[in-house]
Symmetry: C2
Subunit: 151 residues, 2 copies
DNA sequence: ACAAATGATACTATGATAGTATCATTAAAA
DNA sequence: TTTTAATGATACTATCATAGTATCATTTGT
């Protein structure tokens, strides 16, 4: 019963990471050093994000990836849509077989409502809201301390 | 991204079914006729429910299963606990690596909160609330109409 | 030319979920 | 007392989404 898969998880981390860099573009090699993500997997994920228009990519030496959108305009639900087939918590498990005296069974109604609520809440979490100072750039102090603190 | 697995789903249906019968005990053979669940799978599920103290079982000819508890005291979260290892929607995916300037990252806080809310809501759905008249017994009219209506 | 990057794409591995199979035991009924 | 219809226990197999790997082609700065 997981809400977020690795794909989505890693994508979030990578986007946060890129958002926090000052460079024009960030190569995979650099991300792999800081984020604990297998290189080929991360590569695939970034390619997907690039294909989906969330990242701009630059080939060749000195190339890498940069955000196509402002960190405040990238939401977790966007990533879930890309990496997790269905955002469907239920699929009318009773298929009209149960709850004979109701137009729509309580189960389905509740599940639909829960799902709607979960998605609404996830849709409010942006990349910007996940990084420290919220402006998408990492402060010098943060950069100097290296990696991400254990706090 | 499923909240409810087949195990849980089938268990719910079976419990609803049993709750709606007037007999003292309901054999698998009978359930299989009405519910669209593979017999050996349903058997396994019922055995589990029996082992967990949610069903009483009677062996031998004329045997079967009956509810150990009132339908109003059996909740979906009970079944999820039995059949779905973790009721955990997230597992602190950032593992303290992100959100350097916060004691607890927004992501984790939000996910925990969402999870709590989902579970609270699921914990309110009882077997009784899923069956038509709520008293755990099927009316004669309902029984006569056979199966479960498409309404 | 070389090195360092992404693009495209096919492949493998793992694990949870889903489902099957079989033999043993019980108990009512013929 | 034998048969039959039920559950108990338990081991096995199948499927599928998730997770991850591998490789060759292309681009581009030095």
């Amino acid at each position: 019963m997981k809400l977020i898969t690795r794909n989505t998880d890693y994508a979030m981390r990578a986007l946060c990471y890129i958002a926090q860099q000052t460079k024009d573009s960030v190569p995979v090699t650099e991300m792999v050093k800081d984020l604990a993500i297998p290189r080929p997997f991360l590569r695939k994920i970034l390619q997907t994000l690039s294909g989906e228009g969330m990242l701009d990519s630059y080939r060749g030496q000195g190339g890498g990836f940069s955000l196509s959108l402002s960190p405040s305009k990238i939401f977790i639900t966007d990533l879930i849509k890309i990496f997790q087939n269905a955002i469907q918590l239920n699929e009318c498990i009773f298929k009209k077989k149960m709850c004979p005296n109701r137009k729509t069974c309580l189960m389905k109604r509740e599940m639909d409502s829960i799902e709607k609520d979960v998605l609404l809440r996830l849709s409010r979490i942006s990349i910007a809201s996940l990084i420290s100072n919220g402006n998408g750039k990492r402060s010098n102090r943060e950069r100097k301390e290296g990696r991400y603190g254990e706090a």
